[in-house]
Subunit: 322 residues, 2 copies
């Protein structure tokens, strides 16, 4: 059986988006449900998702483990797995890790761009690695079954997390630094360490992570995938598109600024280009998986490898964690 | 006019404690009102203090600026200034700095022992300094008038804070490392940088910070004070006793562990000595200021210098910040 999985989306959720994901034959999507929210605000998000699930039960349901991906395939629906882009919902309380798991959280970034209580984000000047609380949180996440996601974390913190975690970790949405020099992209050394520990990289389709931005060529992306497979092995690579369909620019402003600064921070953007960037024309939305399939074939991947990259590798990773 | 100020106490507050502080002729005390509390829990503490002020209006009132210390002297009362030992009440929101000021907060540690969102605590393995959010928070604290307190912070973070802050900062309760090698005590280099920037050190009477612990001799403490004055200048030294009168041991356990770990952390204590340490017999409570006065005289300080150390230096510092 072959699965199609997009292991990171943060769309302005609507029936239209769920339909597009179905048209793309996605059996599972890992969706970001919080950025900077605290525990109470996280519970509000859960209520919002309860309504999505009720109103769109013909298209989606909540995923809890890999068996829900198998079920989604059979029922021609998309299993929705919850994840956090920051650890803010657990606040300063290790006991909340079990609580957020009970509500469905399966991935949690130890940091967004800034320092968190657990580790250092990639936009900080200095990186002190995983903190005292971070070490305890990783142990608890391992015990409970929440995947450690280091997509937005700084390098030493990520290497620390790989070292401390007894289970493989994930970088759900980022690209290699050798291809495009962006603060959010990852060094070859880090990618090697990640794959040596059976961790997964979800390749991102977000323009700020792409060579030539929105003008990035499909061929270039697929060649980069081939070179990344040389480094990491083809089984440790998947897709984490970072699609932010239909989000207003106020959302990216909030993602970057939260409530931590009074002056505006532009993150990956700039004063001139403060909003969400445009997508490359071959990946406007998840239906672009079809283009990826063709493009990956052209650079020499075989069917087994392509199905791995487009979903089966993530499926196997999910299988390993539950 | 001479003032007596203890610039750090965290007692189990009661009429008895306020009476003792009056017997000690304290015109002002900086009291810790939160350790790990969030904003809502901080508001609860404010309610508790409102009751203390009502029930004990013949002994104490809330201090807002240095004029309240002058008033306290005249009225033979103690002005109570609020402070935080961690930045948890501002959560991840820079706007809360103004809110906590409005309720009376005048000192805030950027960290307790662990990493915070603002800086690194002295019990972390690595110290990445003041964070992105920390830089913004310092600017805002400067603007609003909350003193940056780095008593429990790591060294680079403290040096960063001194460098970034446009106003003098404080280490309200710690001792020099040259005298007693404890994680919480401060290096000579740091103390020099602190005094060069007109910052204040509050010498601590907490046994874990004292040479020979509870058996520390008054003479030794006063000689250390003289050597510290050689390094920092006598005008940058005061007292921050760190008195924790009548607190049950469950409180020190909570101070150290908060909710960040499932296994027990003993902080400055140990498995064998997990509780609050005993005070040296010459400083059981604030009435020990009288012993300090005699002791400081014996090691050669003159009256002006002694009155500076026992309160006037802090008074001048308060005067500078408002």
């Amino acid at each position: 059986m072959n699965y199609r999985i997009d292991n990171l989306q943060y769309c302005n959720w609507s029936r239209e988006v769920f339909q597009i994901n179905r048209e793309a034959n996605l059996d599972a999507v890992h969706v970001t449900i919080v950025y900077h929210e605290d525990y109470k605000e996280f519970l509000k998000k859960i209520e919002e998702w309860d309504i999505h699930f009720k109103k769109n039960e013909d298209l989606i349901f909540q995923g809890k483990n890999y068996k829900d991906i198998e079920r989604a395939k059979l029922e021609k629906k998309t299993a929705i797995f919850f994840g956090f882009q920051n650890c803010s919902p657990i606040e300063d309380d290790i006991n909340l890790i079990e609580k957020v798991y009970e509500k469905g959280c399966r991935f949690m970034q130890l940091t967004y761009n800034n320092q968190s209580l657990l580790a250092t984000g990639c936009y900080e000047k200095n990186d002190s690695g995983v903190t005292n609380f971070g070490k305890e949180a990783i142990k608890e996440m391992n015990r409970i079954g929440i995947v450690i996601d280091m997509s937005h974390s700084a390098e030493k913190s990520t290497l620390d997390a790989i070292d401390i975690s007894e289970k493989p970790i994930a970088i759900t949405h980022a690209n290699p630094l050798f291809w495009h020099n962006a603060i959010r992209n990852k060094s070859t050394e880090l990618l090697k360490t990640l794959s040596d520990s059976n961790g997964m990289l979800g390749l991102s389709l977000y323009s700020h992570h792409l060579k030539d931005g929105k003008n990035c060529k499909l061929e270039s992306f697929c060649e980069m995938t081939a070179r990344t497979a040389d480094i990491m092995g083809v089984k440790n690579i998947g897709i984490g598109s970072d699609l932010c369909l239909n989000q207003p620019d106020s959302v990216v402003e909030w993602m970057r600024n939260g409530t931590w600064t009074k002056k505006k921070n532009f993150g990956e953007g700039s004063k001139k280009k403060p909003g969400f960037p445009k997508q490359p024309d071959w990946f406007i939305d998840a239906r672009g998986f079809e283009n990826l399939e063709k493009g990956l074939s052209k650079v020499g991947f075989d069917k087994l490898e392509i199905n791995g990259i487009l979903g089966n590798n993530w499926f196997n990773f999910y299988k390993g964690i539950n």
